[in-house]
Subunit: 250 residues, 2 copies
């Protein structure tokens, strides 16, 4: 019986050096997305069931520094003081609130309210979802549809609509100002969101296209799974995306 057992000698000689104290030291190395043309962020909707403190704690743990501000964290009715306090809290966590949304707009009044909100928050980008018949009115706020009206390319929904996000990014990149990163299980309405890397999207091809079109916006993970306890899914998705970034650099 002895003969079938293999014994492995571990290279464990230096284990005592790793004190608990050591484990708590900050990461010394920038994330692989730091030197890309784009930035990595997380869409606020990911934290629909959590407050801003838990949101910022999660961004810190995943070393992510861009947040698309969702109105359940900063209501449209916020006072200027509340907006100021919100920004201060983000800054203390080394996070930039780079945009607001998604924000739904069903009336002209709501369009006005959303634009006024964005101005007061001080962001240059609204991820907005106006009803289709309001698009001309929205357009009055961003004259001639050019160059300030564009698309938040949600690569998961795009794929579920039967489209190819890699081809669409190439085709529309001049109009793509924000990106929602996710993965889905099927190129149809039966598809649903999963951790990035577990679905059918070709993430390596998408990262290569981000570089090819020199996308300079934020790629924001919008994690829509296990929303009561999304944290491991968020971490796995961020890890996967960064693994792809690193492995496609060469």
């Amino acid at each position: 019986m002895k003969s079938i057992i293999r014994i492995l000698v571990c290279t464990l000689l230096v284990i005592p050096l790793m004190s608990v104290h050591g484990q708590d030291r900050p990461d010394p190395q920038p994330a692989p997305d730091i030197d890309e043309c784009f930035n990595l962020g997380i869409a606020g909707y990911t934290f629909a069931r959590f407050d801003l403190e838990k949101t910022l704690e999660t961004l810190k743990r995943t070393d992510v520094h861009y947040l698309c501000i969702k109105n359940f964290h900063l209501p449209l009715t916020s006072t200027d003081e509340e907006i100021k306090a919100f920004h201060a809290k983000l800054k203390s966590a080394d996070v930039i609130g780079y945009a607001v949304g998604p924000l739904y707009m069903k009336t002209k009044e709501e369009v006005d309210q959303v634009f006024e909100y964005a101005r007061r928050v001080g962001v240059k980008t609204i991820v907005g979802v106006p009803t289709y018949d309001l698009l001309p009115y929205v357009n009055e706020n961003v004259k001639d549809l050019d160059p300030r009206m564009g698309m938040c390319l949600d690569i998961g929904h795009d794929r579920r609509n039967g489209k190819d996000p890699v081809a669409d990014l190439e085709k529309y990149h001049a109009r793509v100002f924000d990106i929602h990163l996710k993965d889905v299980t099927d190129a149809s309405k039966h598809g649903y969101s999963v951790e990035v890397g577990r679905g059918i999207l070709d993430i390596p091809a998408f990262v290569r296209m981000l570089r090819k079109v020199n996308y300079t916006g934020v790629v924001s993970l919008e994690h829509e799974r296990n929303m009561d306890n999304p944290f491991m899914g968020i971490a796995e998705s961020i890890g996967y995306f960064r693994g792809v970034i690193e492995a496609t650099k060469r």
Copy 2:
């Protein structure tokens, strides 16, 4: 002021299709490591502060199916009944306990006990840490050092010892029967463990070498950071490694 704000129309048309029910469906797609020569696992030490239930729940959430059995989950004094129950629990979670260890051995009696334990558990591999002067006695259990005595290559400790894990895998691969996956901050004793992808290891080069030498064992994440709450770090590390696997397939 209006002119500086961009409006992005989200492709959100299909959102209502994603019910909570839908989010709970199983993943339809195999992990990218499924069709590799090697398997992805997690070393039991990762869960030093958690019981077997939490361990198996974590493997399920990260879709990992190989576990190196640590003796705090299955003591060396376990009865045959307890071993049987342990294996049944792993099987119900679709997990294979592929090896035992790391196990430290300071006396001949402990060597005997560890080999007997491995036989009773029914695994073919011991990740063992005998004191150096016991190596000849261990050797009697695995005659002639060939071919059953080899190495668990811990790529983090290897790097902290100033070695290059990619080169070492190529050099010693005939003797490498298990691998501990981690990342570290420095190629010296001052280095410490971090989430895979946040340290200095060249993970893409390591994955390519695993294929080049046709490594057919398990690559087991041994996560040694934030051990009171390691779950996001585990998920990020597994995600990163799978992202690298996927992106280096072509």
